[in-house]
């Protein structure tokens, strides 16, 4: 009987957030669907075609929001890592892991949409332009993080390793940005990036970009919440199993 209060406490402390998130997730899904349909309409019907780049420029309205979400997600990995090392609560590790996985999806989308745009505009799928290179290094950094999680067991020790790698990778990004920019300034690329030269003079372009950014942010929040809730349930199950094993062991002693 002595083990009962502690096991119910465990169920309360780690499991409470999971059902709340499970209730919220469908609403975020509906919001994602609505916002995505709105931004698709705006990208294909509402926004005027950019004069110089033509129809291809419309991929920009998906490309930039993906980049914002990818960077935000990887920032979240580092913040969750700091909190995990500080407080040691499993919830932060679950959040960091979920953010890394979801962020990786958007980082991949940035590279793919960028390539699709670059082929007709620059004449090449890939150039070692400073922003492309930085995004690609970011992708590799978080690929390393996910490889660590995939190749290691699911223990508090590995959660700490993940936190350390997440923090170190995020703080490495500014140095990557500076070095890659210097690298490309000294060796000018044949295809010069137009700094902000996407021609957003038209207010409809700004509106489309804003709606698409909100749509992608909500979609990220939705995916993050689904994965986070799943990881919370997994952590809860592990704690319940441990409590059960302890209870069985103490019953055996009697």
């Amino acid at each position: 009987m002595a083990a009962e209060p502690s096991s119910s406490n465990i169920a309360d402390s780690t499991g409470a957030s999971a059902p709340a998130m499970a209730r919220l997730a469908p609403w975020l899904g509906v919001a994602t669907l609505a916002l995505m349909l709105a931004s698709l309409f705006m990208v294909f019907e509402y926004v005027p075609t950019e004069a110089q780049e033509g129809i291809v420029q419309r991929i920009f309205y998906f490309h930039v929001p993906c980049a914002w979400v990818a960077f935000a997600a990887f920032g979240l990995v580092a913040i969750a890592g700091v909190f995990y090392l500080w407080l040691g609560d499993q919830i932060w590790d679950d959040l960091g892991y979920a953010a890394a996985e979801s962020g990786m999806v958007f980082c991949t989308l940035v590279l793919i949409t960028g390539s699709l745009w670059a082929k007709p505009i620059w004449g090449a799928w890939w150039t070692w332009d400073s922003r492309i290179t930085t995004t690609f290094i970011l992708w590799l950094l978080y690929g390393g993080y996910l490889m660590l999680r995939a190749m290691a067991d699911d223990t508090p020790e590995v959660a700490r390793f993940g936190a350390v790698v997440g923090i170190v990778a995020a703080l490495d990004v500014p140095v990557v940005i500076v070095s890659v920019r210097l690298w490309r300034t000294i060796h000018p690329a044949v295809l010069v990036t137009r700094q902000g030269g996407h021609g957003l003079e038209d207010p409809r372009m700004i509106a489309t970009l804003l709606v698409a950014t909100v749509a992608f942010t909500v979609m990220f929040a939705w995916l993050l919440m689904l994965r986070f809730a799943q990881l919370r349930l997994r952590s809860r199950m592990k704690e319940l199993r441990r409590a059960l094993a302890l209870a069985e062991a103490s019953a055996g002693d009697l």
Partner: protein
């Protein structure tokens, strides 16, 4: 400081008697350089660029396998646990392992520079001395990064496989800066052509030595 000196002295004594890290680093550098000479066979005008690139590729990949032996040998018989439980400050432990990796790599690199000069038909001259700042700064940054990450990868199932996956992307800024400044040094460019790259290397070193010192206790700690 006493614990730092004691730990470093122990690793240096082990190395002087076995020579395992330095020899492994040198042998791997030699093989990588031979492969790169076959692969690149550079034209005379590209020699500075190609030899600088070859030197840094050899440093990164040989270092990946050889530099962190002083740390990984502590995993045998659970010595790392004993060290983690001992009253040694984890930052000091990190510093000692970093210093050991730095010394082994520096010795092996001095030999690798001689090989590069021979293999790529460069001249022995004062330009080689100007390779020292980028190489020393790059080696320090690499040792700091590899020591922290090897403590992680060494305690997972994947082991050595994981270290390059984590370390190479993080080392990219130092790699770019190191190759560019080394190529400038070998081509006899003025110091001003190297200075901004040396700045990147210094920033990288400060960042990773600090982070390693702060985070090492979370990597070796027990639950």
């Amino acid at each position: 400081m006493g614990s730092f000196a004691a730990l470093l002295r122990k690793d240096l004594r082990l190395e002087l008697r076995s020579g395992q890290s330095t020899l492994a680093l040198f042998a791997l550098s030699l093989l990588i350089l031979v492969v790169l000479v076959f692969a690149l066979s550079p034209e005379p005008r590209d020699r500075a660029e190609a030899s600088a690139g070859a030197l840094w590729v050899a440093m990164v990949f040989a270092g990946m396998l050889g530099a962190t032996r002083a740390l990984l040998s502590e995993n045998e018989n659970g010595c790392i646990r004993a060290l983690a439980m001992s009253p040694v400050d984890p930052a000091m432990l990190y510093g000692a392992k970093l210093a050991a990796a730095f010394i082994f790599m520096t010795v092996a690199e001095a030999a690798a520079v001689l090989l590069v000069v021979l293999f790529f038909n460069l001249d022995f001259g004062p330009s080689l001395l100007r390779l020292a700042p980028p190489l020393v700064l790059g080696t320090l940054g690499f040792s700091a990064l590899a020591t922290l990450l090897a403590a992680i990868s060494g305690r997972t199932r994947a082991g050595d496989l994981l270290l390059p996956l984590l370390a190479v992307p993080m080392f990219v800024p130092a790699l770019i800066a190191g190759v560019k400044s080394s190529a400038a040094a070998l081509a006899g460019a003025p110091f001003s052509a190297m200075s901004q790259w040396l700045g990147v290397l210094v920033a990288f070193d400060v960042l990773f030595v600090t982070l390693g010192g702060l985070l090492f206790e979370h990597v070796i700690g027990e639950d």
